[in-house]
Symmetry: C2
Subunit: 149 residues, 2 copies
């Protein structure tokens, strides 16, 4: 569905958001631990999110990644997806490509509703919503088939 980079990035961002809401920075080690993802690869993804202005970071001891409350409230899943895998989900038809907007795509009719719902959900779901659920223990960021038993 999404690329690994995107999945990992979403999970990491949600964890950072959770920690930031508690006034805590999250270090790479910690993030990798909680999300069960490859450290060096995650480092790259976090870098990308920092460059994109989504996360902020400080080096050295007591350093780590954080995200401002304003961004937790305002950044939507759509923005994460966009920065982590380009426009694969932006305005493309479920079957074809960009031109689907004005050409009549046979699958367009079938999938239009679904696509709208999908994009709508990505546009409307804020980090806050998801991070809150996680804080309440309503979810996990680690998946059994990727980590240890």
């Amino acid at each position: 569905m999404f690329s690994k980079a995107c999945e990992y990035g979403i999970r990491a961002t949600l964890y950072v958001a959770m920690q930031s809401m508690e006034g805590q920075r999250a270090g790479l080690r910690e993030i990798v631990d909680v999300t069960g993802t490859p450290a060096a690869y995650m480092a790259k993804i976090l870098q990308k999110l920092v460059h994109a202005g989504i996360l902020d970071s400080v080096r050295g001891p007591v350093g780590g990644f954080g995200i401002s409350r304003i961004k937790i409230d305002n950044i939507r899943l759509a923005e994460l997806v966009h920065t982590l895998e380009g426009d694969r989900f932006q305005g493309t038809c479920l079957l074809g490509k960009k031109s689907c907007g004005d050409t009549v795509c046979p699958l367009h009719n079938e999938f239009l509703e679904m696509k709208e719902e999908m994009l709508g959900m990505l546009e409307n779901t804020s980090l806050f919503e998801l991070a809150s659920q996680l804080s309440l223990g309503l979810g996990t960021l680690k998946y059994r088939d990727e980590g240890e038993t």
Copy 2:
């Protein structure tokens, strides 16, 4: 959204279905022309579809690819997607992996409805529905940004 192989395969299958409904076989050259896809790669994809028992093929002049009326009626998009890109869309959470079924995934709640709709649509849309629309001139299988102007 889907892999190239999957997109190409769906388009090819729909064209073959259209032609088969007219009692015509479709050759590779023709398929590649209509769908605007790389010939050698498409050949591989068609092979896969033949192996999977979705399409049938005959060699030599007057040969080409075809699909029986029974299969046009009964094969759903879900089956194409499954044979062309494995279980990436089968029972996996939109964010995480297989384990999402019993673990509580934070995005699961948000996306469950959408996922269900998506899988449902793949399960319920038959080749016949789509090929019929195409036959009526209600769509195209070629996308501008991939072919010539």
